[in-house]
Structures are given as structure tokens and as C-alpha cells.
Symmetry: C2
Subunit: 320 residues, 2 copies
Amino acid sequence: MNVLIIGGGGFVGQKLARALIERGELNGKSINSINLVDVMEPGAIDGGSIAVNTSICDITDTASVAEAVTADIDVIYLLAAIVSAHAEEDFDAGWSINMMGTLNVLDRARELGTKPRVVFTSSIAVYGGEVPDPIIDHTFLNPQTSYGAQKAVGELLINDYSRKGFIDGVGFRLPTISVRPGKPNRAASSFMSSILREPLNGQEAVCPVDADFPHYYLSPRKCIENLIKGAELKAEDLGQNRCMMMPGRMWTIGQLIDAMNAVAGPEPAKLIKWEAQPEIQKIVKGWRFDLRPEKALKLGLTADESFEDNVRYYIEDDRP
Amino acid sequence: MNVLIIGGGGFVGQKLARALIERGELNGKSINSINLVDVMEPGAIDGGSIAVNTSICDITDTASVAEAVTADIDVIYLLAAIVSAHAEEDFDAGWSINMMGTLNVLDRARELGTKPRVVFTSSIAVYGGEVPDPIIDHTFLNPQTSYGAQKAVGELLINDYSRKGFIDGVGFRLPTISVRPGKPNRAASSFMSSILREPLNGQEAVCPVDADFPHYYLSPRKCIENLIKGAELKAEDLGQNRCMMMPGRMWTIGQLIDAMNAVAGPEPAKLIKWEAQPEIQKIVKGWRFDLRPEKALKLGLTADESFEDNVRYYIEDDRP
């Protein structure tokens, strides 16, 4: 069992690799190698008896994709993407990397004829606009950002390439992952981790929306668990649409901060500065938060029990 | 007012051009020119005082698209496509023409900065799989053919390029158009016209499904009317999703034949041969027929009153 993680330098890719190493197997088969590729050299990880290789891959370049996607790969995690606010600013980069890059990976798999399991990370940013609440499995994808549109195209590709037998694909619309470790990035949702992570690290952070802003969250730990379950789902259980919501839960910013207070005391929250940012609000207020991931729940994927768990996981797993 | 019809050699493009010439104006402005482009030289049409130009355009070639899409064009009808059964047989041609071709046209419009109205023809083939009946405006697009997937991608592109202000797009999911004039083509739905058209012309035709097969239809005449209304819809009335079902009606094959009997007597139906064709059935039985095009109806688009009208329109407009 050889695993390729495209976007293996990101925090999800790195955590996923560590979790797979700890587990040692996937679908009942021992993992022999994990290949981490990204647009910049991914961080090295000690895999013990599992060979962990790192290399650079530009998914917009078919030759580079051909080097990364080889006939011995059984499972491809396709995590690489230009994130939301970045894709909104740089229209060409977003479509090139998020759509054409995905297409290049799928076309390479088709060329090989090895029908790998491809686990694609879509996003709840595919939802938006005039669709009724709650969002259910059969709700129209109506993205109001280029990032969301690119992810929705990726889902159509995953489904059609799977239907034709070129890959064995599955896709998950990720909730906003919080508390995300590391530094702020160009995702419009970046603050939804920053306002907890930085204060928990003793640093100031800016909250660009009001405390009653509701959103849909999942912890990194649960996300990784679900991505591993995702690789093990049987094709025949996926039905006629292989892409689905990954379970999360809806909380307001105020509830996130209450959870942090409950776990870490009242001091961290004093480091949050409240500064309305219209450009960020314009994006995130178009996102949906009342989601009912029935299909994924039936397939055994899970959400966090309370946001206090999310805060604890950050402290246990990631706090420097 | 200059109009470009990409796919101008097809029967919809040709009928649309004739209807626009007869009308003489669009959005209250006189039409100066109609440019018909297609992968093969479109049939010439006498436009009277309106200049009708024909030329060859390969939408997979950006230079060819740049020649066709010029700064003086106000309205682009983007009708060109590889049809359903053809796209199912030739995976590369389908994605190349139906997706990349659409992208090339939109990128050219973006490059010009003239924000033309783009009227895109999607298809009810975007619906399929495990979504509940009836299909409403907010139903998940779950195509079960490559053609349907390519059209669904086209819709996402139309919406995102419009949202960013590069085009002023609108898209319509066309019902199966019947009675379509001309010869059978490689659409899986081709028989849904053939079994009426050929008998009305005194020729035999094959019906590959049973008489109780239900489907969703629109006459060419109504389709053209709706495409012209589509070009005149105001952007502010389209909301956060510019693509919608074009109204049609559901009838069974038996009802189509009853309508033909009522209009043309019992002789034509005797020319229908019933021969089950599993490959065609596999495609068309994945299509949906219980559609409720509420948004389009509110915007003033219409369906046929009865299939007898469709038969009469064929006899009046198209029978050789």
C-alpha cells in the first residue's frame, strides 16, 4: 500500500501522514510508503519502517504530475489548493491550480490505468446564494466565490472520472478546520483559527466579524480521522454521487470563545481585538452554516462533540 | 447590436438566426449583424438589411476563438457542444470541446473587457442519480453522463465569470428538443425526434425504449423564443445563480405518438419499429423527467401547451 499526498506540505497533509504512520495500515494492508508532494518541499517526517519521501510537484505541470503520480500508488490524497481569499484575488491562479491541477492529476491516473482511490478535499464553500436552509445532501451547489466554483468543478470531475472507471474517487466538503495550527494564511476563514490559536499562544489576534457570526467547524483531529475513513469507504457504498459534506458543527464566534474560556481560563480571550473587515465579511457571510451531512454520518464519518474538544485538541496536539 | 452564434451551423443556431432576423431587434436595439460560426461552415442565411456572416471556428483553439469573439459583439449565444452519446464515446472530445471550449470563449470575453451577454445552453442531462423528485430550482446537479458533467461545469464557469464581471451570463438547461428537424445525430435523445420526424416524412424509424418511457420535452419553436427572451433578461433579475431549467413538459413516448396520430392520422405511427437498445436505454433512463422550472417560468419563459403543438410546429416549420 503506497500513499501519495498532494498538498503534503500543508498542515492537513502533514498531520495525515503522521496519522497514517501511526496507524501503519489502510484498508487492512500495511503501508509501505508515503509520498508527500507540494509546490514547496514538504517537511520531512520520520516514518520508522514506512518510507516517507518528500518532493516538489507543480500540479499545473503535467510532467511534474507524471513524476509524482506513478503506477505503484494505491491511494492519492488530493489536498492541494489555492485557498479562498487568494483564489478570489488571483483569478488565474485559482482556476489554474484548483481546476486544471485537479484535471492533470485525474488525467495522469487515467493514463496509468491503475484506478487509484483518489480522496479529494472539496469545501463547504461550494454552498451559497439563494438555496434554502438547511443544506442537505441534495442541495444545489451555488458557490459565491471562485474557490467554491473550482471545488464544485473538482467534484464533477471526481464523479465523472470515477463513473468511467478511470479512478475510484471520493470527495469531502470540508468544514472550516479550527483550531488550525501554524500561521494565518490567505483563506478568508483564517481568523476562525487565529482568534483562538494566537491568544492560546499568548499573542493578539483580530476578529473581523461580530460575536454572533455563525459558522460550521471541524477540528483537525476529526478531519484527519475522516480523511482516513474516506480512503477506506467502499465504492459500492458511495452511490451515484461520490462527493459529500464532511460532518462538522455550527457554532458562533461567541461560542468558540466561551469554549476557549472554559478550557483555558479567561485570559486568552482578552487578546482578541475586534475590527470589522468588510472584504473578509463579504466572503464569509456568503458561506452557509446550517448543514446536515446525513450521507457522511451514515457512512461513519463524525464531527466533534463540543468546541471545547477542538480547543483541547489544539493544546494537546499543536500548541508550541 | 451585433450577435455571435457559436454553434451557428446547428439547427438551433440556424433557427435562432432566422428568428432574430425576423425580429430585427434585441433589447430594443436594432440588430446590425449576426455572425454564425461553427466547426464546419454554417449554412448561409439571407439577412436582408442585417449582415449575416458565416465562418469556421474551433472553440478548442484560442486563436480561432479570438477571431470569432471580437470587441463589437454584444450578445454571444454559446450553443456549440459535443452531444451526449458522442461525449460518452469520446471522453477527450467531450471535455475538450464542452468544457475547455466554453472556458476559451469566456476567457476571450474577459480579455476583451466588453462584458458581453453570454447565453449558454446547458441541458437537463445535468440531473440524475439519487436526488428526489420533483427536480426543483435548488436540486443538486448530479449528472450521470460526461456530457451532463461538462454542462454542469459550464454553468459554474458562467456563474463565476459573471460574478467577477467578466461577462453578463445566463444559462438554460434545455429539455430534449422535439420534433427536431434534420437527420438523426449522436445525441442519445436523437430517437425522441426520429420516431416522429421520419414517420411524418414517410420513413421508418426505430424506437429503442418502451411506450411508457417518460421524458421532458420542448419544441424547437418555443426553445428559440426562450433563447431570445434569455438574451433580454436583466442581470439583476437573475439573482445568485444565472443558470436555470428552460421550461418543458413531461410526456411518455406513447403520448408523443398519440399526439402525432391526432394531428397527422394513424398512418405515420405504423412506420415506427420497436427495438430495445440497451446502450441508449442506459443513458436516457438515467435522465430525469419530473422537472419544475419555477424560476424560468417567473422570468417569463414558457413551455408548449400540448405535444400536438410540437407536431404541428414541425409540419409548419420544418417538414421538407
